[in-house]
Symmetry: C2
Subunit: 397 residues, 2 copies
């Protein structure tokens, strides 16, 4: 069974239907990938994740290495076993968070001089990053090699090569330097994984499932760099390709451009993931560029603020009608509104509960509200992706 | 079908097996009554409540009248419809919270003089209490009559007469005055309900289910007053009897005494509820005094702090072994402990998750932790009560 198979290519665009096959199950693409940063999609039980028919979830290596830590992950046999996930998982490289922290290094130095706080990042160079855990002060070193080892300990089915996610705005000079570093790191990730496969260390010997590596295309907001990076990364022949750094600080137009620049370079026989991007308009627009999977925290993040997606308005994006699809249940107008949260949704939240009850739960900061709206928003995302797959199958997208 | 039926009386004590029959289902007694103050057992969905086989849940009239408010409750057709409860519910009278607020009245006056805050309680006398909603400044009046009307709007199957819960410590003189007021209020509650039944107002016409009133025995820490109150309340022939005010500030011994003083006066053909009491030792000891139902926030409150009940230690109370039954998953010793939360429990939390994962969730303040531990602790309480019912059936208690 191959890792990725294209089942249908739209006659209208680069959109395609595919299947990603992992030891933990099959993912029908295009797919939305809900984020469960610390090994939990916030507020949802594994039963609820199954009920939602979520196909693939995203975990963050930086967070999991910081807590519960590699030792616990190794002892448990990975995050699947620890958190009882039965669906495929995708882990990032840690690079995004590590470099976000690095950005704050200068401020941290100043703080150290003033004796105000301990710096989190101790050192950053071509080799990688050394930082201190906020939990126990322990030094954690992120390099291409340790990122690979960490991701083995986590045991997700899909892994990302260690990359530098360029901050925004950055100069062409700096972005090129960072891109070249990311390319070197990709080669080191591949080499490390090959060596580990030949001579399993303690880390490798714990991986009980196949793990598929994605190289990450960087290059910031510069067309020449993005294309150069796409060429380089695609040539490395990793099982999948990711596009990174397009969600950091830019406008939607810039983001779309970055994806469109690299689209012609993407392989047509390997899956493509777009890191950290996945609002409704992004997904609808970018499946046509050949993007297969999208991870994004937004549906669950806004759910915890009381924002409920509206199915009809979400699906209208497929018809080109791009209005607001967010209903804020905190609004006073919903205090006594006994209609379902979303008339067009048949998830358990919408079948059972009214806007008035959810308004009450949010006004009272009741835990149940966060769970019910997270469940609903992810249900709407699943519905959108189902519809997208149907439309691609019918060459409508 | 009668409201309450005794199916077996222990030969060893006043303990008994009974069934409480309501329009929303049957409750096997003795039963533990988890508290869902604001119309939600914190962190649990209705599916989870069903899975736990919770028979009866408790809601607080003061909180529900304050938010979402009587208008929303009436429009929805009660809290069953609003929150999608399919199990029987019990509501309190609001008296406990109203008088807790009244206690703070003096401080509030001082604050008003200093211009610091608006007082919540505006007036308190024999007739009742006027206070202002913290949500919209609206005046809410609690009297025996309005408490009955509020409880009709809420629509719980079992209601409490409006009572004054004496603060602790209180003098004999004050306690007697408060008790007499509670007795007068009970008569007014009964009269009001009879009048409403004859001439349904808007309030009454919304009640779609039978509602059974419990008179509340008060009398504080004084034996003579408790006995006098028991005699008076039992003589009023309400469908059930509650014992109030035994959970406020006293020692466990005092609390037990208060229940034992009134036990001989309790009717043997009507159900008896003990308000706000329900730790493991309380339940094990007080079913022998003829208590049928117990409500208590503790299992879910401590769950949200990371405390997991341990089945073996809880059930050991039935054998007279009274050790600690609380495991604190926050403790560092559980960081890499992959054993189940509770080896003797087969709830979904314990079947699926380890102490290490729950430790991780609590250290990271992840919502899922609160849900999983709340679920577990209520599962242990259900297990305890099942075992108690079996032992009563076998005359072992």
């Amino acid at each position: 069974m191959s890792f990725f198979k294209v089942n249908h290519r739209s006659t209208r665009s680069k959109a395609r239907l595919g299947t990603i096959t992992t030891d933990h199950g099959v993912v029908q693409t295009p797919a939305f990938v809900p984020v469960g940063t610390k090994g939990t999609i916030k507020g949802l039980t594994q039963e609820q994740i199954k009920d939602l028919t979520i196909q693939l979830s995203f975990v963050n290596t930086y967070h999991l290495v910081t807590h519960p830590g590699v030792d616990v992950l190794q002892k448990a046999g990975g995050v699947h076993a620890l958190a009882k996930y039965s669906i495929p998982l995708m882990s990032d490289s840690g690079g995004f968070q590590v470099f976000s922290l690095a950005l704050r290094q200068k401020e941290q130095r100043k703080a150290r001089v003033r004796g105000e706080e301990e710096p989190l990042v101790e050192k950053i160079d071509e080799n990688g990053v050394i930082f201190r855990s906020v939990y126990d002060g322990q030094k954690i070193i992120f390099t291409p090699e340790t990122s690979m080892d960490f991701q083995v300990a986590i045991g997700a089915d899909i892994n990302m090569a260690f990359d530098e996610c360029t901050y925004y705005p950055a100069t062409h000079e700096y972005t090129e330097k960072a891109m070249n570093r990311t390319h070197e790191w990709l080669k080191r990730c591949i080499t490390h994984r090959e060596l580990e496969a030949k001579n399993p260390t303690n880390h490798q010997s714990l991986a009980t499932n196949h793990q598929f590596l994605y190289g990450i295309i960087q290059g910031g907001t510069f067309e020449d760099l993005r294309k150069k990076s796409a060429e380089f990364v695609v040539a490395q022949n990793t099982p999948g390709i990711a596009i990174g750094g397009v969600s950091v600080g830019e406008t939607k137009e810039e983001m779309r451009s970055q994806v469109k620049w690299v689209a012609p370079y993407l392989p047509n026989d390997r899956p493509v993931h777009l890191l950290g991007v996945g609002q409704v308009d992004d997904i609808v627009d970018l499946v046509t560029q050949g993007i297969d999977t999208f991870d994004c925290v937004e549906p669950t993040r806004v759910a915890r603020m009381g924002i409920a997606y509206q199915t009809q308005a979400v699906l209208a994006y497929l018809e080109g009608n791009r209005g607001s699809y967010e209903l804020d249940v905190n609004k006073a107008v919903y205090k006594s509104d006994l209609t379902p949260l979303d008339e067009k949704c048949n998830c358990s939240t919408c079948v059972n509960y009214s806007k008035a009850y959810l308004h009450h739960l949010f006004k009272q900061r009741e835990l149940l509200g966060y769970t019910l709206l997270s469940y609903h928003n992810l249900s709407v995302m699943e519905r959108l992706l189902q519809e997208i797959r149907v439309q691609i199958g019918n060459d409508l997208i």
